[in-house]
């Protein structure tokens, strides 16, 4: 099965680049799901983790090129938050490389498509490796630390309740 990838794209650059990629008929896997944000400065850790909790296989954040954010420094802030979130992912044994920040200018349709293709490949490889490890050896230390999956998924509904 193809990996599910959420792409948080800023309105002015990456989203426009994605449009351009389509207009230029640049092909990339259909599993890239674009969530349009006004600016990548809006990205927060909850949003990124939410995607993983929802069992997305990878998350990409795509903003303007460094130095050309339409909101001055949103993309730089996003970069920092992505770095922070990567550390958190590592803490729980999720490969931090499943989360990545990209800078794609509005005019770079082909780059968007290329990034989407490369990132999907990378995620696909990671998933393969993980399943091999799981089947093959006794399991990584980190894998052990993720407690055995529990079937009380109903609780997930809690997430949509309250102030969260």
């Amino acid at each position: 099965m193809e990996p599910n990838i959420i792409a948080f794209c800023c309105h002015y650059c990456a989203f426009t680049a994605a449009d351009l990629a389509g207009t230029m008929r640049q092909q990339y896997p259909a599993n890239i799901h674009i969530v349009r944000l006004p600016c990548t400065g809006k990205v927060d850790i909850n949003m990124l983790l939410r995607a993983f909790v929802d069992e997305a296989d990878g998350v990409m954040v795509a903003g303007c090129e460094v130095g050309s954010c339409h909101f001055l420094e949103g993309n730089i802030r996003a970069k920092k938050r992505v770095e922070y979130a990567k550390r958190k992912l590592e803490e729980v044994g999720i490969n931090p490389e499943k989360l990545e920040m990209f800078h794609i200018a509005a005019s770079e349709g082909p780059l968007f498509a290329q990034t989407a293709r490369d990132f999907t490949d990378k995620i696909r490889r990671m998933i393969q490796q993980e399943s091999q490890i799981e089947q093959g050896s006794e399991g990584q230390k980190k894998k052990e630390q993720i407690a055995e999956p529990v079937d009380n998924r109903k609780e997930e509904n809690d997430r949509s309740t309250g102030a969260m």
């Binding site: 599910n4 959420i6 994605a18 449009d19 351009l20 990629a21 389509g22 207009t23 008929r25 092909q27 896997p29 259909a30 599993n31 799901h33 674009i34 969530v35 944000l37 006004p38 600016c39 400065g41 809006k42 927060d44 850790i45 909850n46 949003m47 983790l49 939410r50 993983f52 909790v53 929802d54 069992e55 460094v66 050309s68 954010c69 339409h70 909101f71 001055l72 420094e73 802030r77 958190k88 803490e91 729980v92 044994g93 200018a105 509005a106 498509a113 630390q145 993720i146 407690a147 999956p149 109903k154 609780e155 509904n157 809690d158 997430r159 949509s160 309740t161 309250g162 102030a163 969260m164």
Partner: protein
């Protein structure tokens, strides 16, 4: 935040005449999304944007009393406004409509995999439905506007736009940092194609400005501060005096110039000549009176002895403020300054830039000389500082080919014995400018061409300056040209002095030029509402391109402010005053100063200035109490979209069951945050009561996947229930503890 979910949503899916339907099975998609919660009706059409389809949508909305609309077609960048208008015409609030992009970001990008494209289209539409369900009805923000424009920079761009704005009925403040108007054009000498001098253009515009009461010109004026917002900006301007007043005739000027004992390199002539402490950029410069450079002047009083009370060395710097509804930036460019040694610049004595050459040619009289040596052979090296393979300037400066060739025509016309050698990387005399290339070839100029990677070399051999070039036009023959003068055809770069841009917070592109909202469709607007860019500060332009952009910016600015009222997008930050505890983090972070501290119902909270907020959302991640959200991009909405994207397309019934379940459990009591915590969060808090723990430990204890634990823990941390201890356990995981 409590929201009523929309329950009567209409979904309109477009075939786009095959552009979508050739790759996406539209009817199948329609069948699947029909079952989404809140959807009342799904329609497919050949062209949703056609007049007839629009009328049909309006009928459907009215007939079924729809409360939300999703249009799935092309990019929202194309037709968002079209369908907002459709919603309006049908009496539906335009913000209860969400656009799903299933063409550019689906059918066209996945045309090789139709199954996947269909699957993705379902997800995209589902996400849009999820978003529209939670959408709010909004009204555009209306604010008052002053019909006053501030034009920054009085080069020909600024002057032309001042006249245009005044013609259209706006009051104009024209602010120039230099003491003379005309900017770069005044330095440029004869211009293509009429050979009219740049300073004549400046004179014509200046005279028109002087005749008008509705344009106020400030020279020696620098913008110091900016407050307020679109419709009513408050600009603080520092005005450096001239120290000379009244008109001065030529005699007076000659006398004071002679009397002044101090000299400095003349910037106007790019260092080719010297000027005195009292000076004019050039004799016919406007405004007419000279100015004294106080950084240089030692107040010796030599000039005062000549004048009859026209000089006052004790004039003081003034600070003024005024209000304007819109701001136009026309700050122009700097010529590229080559690095030392770049094609012999500053290391070989007869290497100069194109700008210096134009001044040299303009000032020369009778003979063409540089550093006392007569010039016969001139070599022009093109694209210096432009199209750099390794440097920062990737752009083509557009004007330099024409400018260099036209200089070659002028120099030959003035001094027929001169020979011109053009060493180019391909000539770009586009459009009507091609004629000057033809003329230059006809007069016998020699063209050599090099490619990227084989740059010509300039060196001094004895008395002679030699340029070696691998000439592509003669099959890469190494050709040597000896020249009396080497002209580096230097392009345009952004001004070094970026103080205005910093004050105005204008976004800057990776090429350092100011960023427009959309390169093609909105080339003179910036994301800062009410701030426009025109001329070469936006990208390299010649005079004609500058005029076109400056007139466009004037028209855009005037249409904004002349009615006295401005409508703004309501997609901005909102503060939930129940949750806000005023910590000031949002205020600290906001680049646009959109937050202020106010007292409301006996507590201090943040308030958003609706006209200043750009809705970028930078404030939402830093709010510790989650009080801020961006309309249309609340956490709830984004999470809803993520859910819709990730969830398997075929699990529709399952999804409905979940929806129903979660709807039951909705308790929205913000100020009883703790009680409203999800069960999982409560369990994490309980677990932490026995001491600090790392995520894997909590996960093991609760028998829950650690990514789930982390999600809840991060929320708890954000809302101030839990904090990092900054310690690690033996497995090097961070420990968390309860925040008391």
């Amino acid at each position: 935040m409590k929201k009523d979910h929309k329950e009567k949503i209409g979904v309109f899916i477009c075939y786009c005449g095959g552009n979508i339907s050739d790759y996406v099975e539209v009817e199948k998609v329609a069948k699947v999304v029909e079952n989404e919660p809140g959807v009342q009706l799904v329609k497919t059409t050949m062209f949703t944007c056609s007049d007839s389809a629009q009328v049909e949508i309006i009928e459907k909305i009215i007939e079924n009393d729809l409360d939300g609309m999703v249009v799935a077609s092309c990019s929202p960048k194309l037709h968002l406004l079209t369908f907002r208008d459709v919603a309006k015409r049908a009496g539906l609030n335009q913000y209860n409509y969400v656009h799903a992009n299933i063409r550019e970001q689906c059918s066209w990008a996945h045309s090789d995999r139709t199954d996947d494209a269909t699957d993705k289209a379902v997800r995209i539409i589902r996400a849009a439905i999820s978003k529209v369900r939670m959408s709010q009805s909004l009204q555009p923000i209306e604010i008052e506007a002053k019909n006053v424009a501030a034009v920054i920079g009085a080069g020909i761009s600024g002057m032309r736009s001042a006249i245009e704005l005044a013609d259209q009925g706006s009051q104009v403040y024209l602010i120039e940092k230099d003491h003379f108007v005309g900017g770069r054009t005044a330095q440029w000498g004869h211009l293509f194609p009429t050979n009219e001098e740049g300073k004549n253009l400046v004179e014509r515009l200046y005279k028109q400005i002087k005749e008008r009461d509705d344009i106020t010109l400030f020279t020696g004026a620098e913008v110091e501060s900016l407050n307020g917002n679109i419709g009513n900006f408050e600009l603080g301007v520092k005005i450096t005096p001239r120290y000379v007043f009244g008109k001065c005739d030529d005699d007076f000027l000659d006398q004071v110039l002679k009397a002044c004992p101090l000299e400095v390199e003349d910037e106007f002539n790019f260092g080719l000549t010297k000027r005195k402490a009292i000076y004019k950029n050039y004799r016919e410069a406007y405004p007419e009176s000279p100015v004294i450079d106080m950084e240089l002047c030692n107040k010796c009083g030599a000039c005062q002895k000549i004048c009859d009370g026209k000089i006052d060395l004790d004039q003081e710097v003034e600070h003024i403020t005024f209000n304007a509804g819109a701001i136009l930036l026309n700050t122009g460019f700097d010529p590229y300054e080559p690095e030392e040694g770049e094609f012999g610049y500053k290391t070989v004595d007869n290497v100069i830039t194109l700008q210096q050459f134009r001044r040299l040619l303009d000032m020369s009289n009778g003979t063409l000389e540089y550093k006392g040596k007569k010039i016969r052979d001139i070599a022009y090296i093109y694209c210096v500082g432009s199209r750099q393979p390794d440097g920062d300037n990737k752009h083509c400066s557009r004007y330099c080919c024409t400018s260099a060739i036209q200089s070659a025509l002028n120099v030959k016309n003035k001094y027929p014995e001169v020979r011109n050698f053009h060493i180019t990387r391909g000539i770009r005399t586009y459009g009507k400018q091609e004629t000057c290339f033809t003329d230059s070839s006809r007069q016998g100029d020699i063209y050599l061409q090099f490619f990227e990677g084989a740059f010509p070399e300039v060196e001094k051999r004895g008395e002679q300056t030699k340029i070696t070039v691998q000439d592509a036009l003669t099959q890469n023959e190494n050709i040597e040209v000896s020249a009396d003068l080497v002209v580096l055809v230097t392009g345009m770069v952004q001004r070094k002095d970026q103080s205005v841009a910093e004050i105005l917070k204008v976004p800057i592109g990776s090429d350092k030029f100011y960023n427009e909202v959309h390169t093609k469709l909105r080339p003179v607007e910036t994301v800062i509402d009410g701030v426009f860019i025109a001329g070469a500060c936006q990208s390299p332009k010649n005079v004609r391109g500058t005029m076109a952009s400056t007139l466009a910016a004037s028209a855009k600015a005037n249409s904004l402010i002349n009615s006295g009222k401005i409508e703004l997008e309501p997609i901005i930050a909102t503060v939930d005053t129940d949750l806000c505890e005023w910590c000031g983090k949002c205020d600290e972070l906001c680049s646009y100063n959109a937050f202020e501290k106010v007292e409301a119902d006996g507590k201090t909270v943040a308030k958003v200035n609706k006209a200043l907020c750009k809705g970028c959302g930078a404030c939402t991640p830093v709010c510790p109490s989650d009080a801020i959200s961006i309309v249309g991009y609340s956490n709830e909405e984004i999470e809803g979209m993520i859910d819709a994207f990730v969830k398997d397309v075929r699990l529709i019934e399952d999804h409905q069951a979940k929806e129903a379940e979660s709807a039951e459990g909705v308790t929205n009591n913000a100020d009883k945050l703790a009680n409203a915590l999800p069960e999982m969060s409560k369990r994490i808090l309980q677990s932490l009561e026995s001491g600090s723990k790392a995520i894997p430990e909590i996960a093991a204890e609760l028998k829950h996947p650690s990514e789930d634990v982390m999600y809840y823990l991060m929320s708890l941390r954000k809302y101030g229930f839990v904090k990092d201890t900054e310690e690690i356990n033996e497995d090097e995981y961070y420990l968390y503890e309860l925040k008391k």
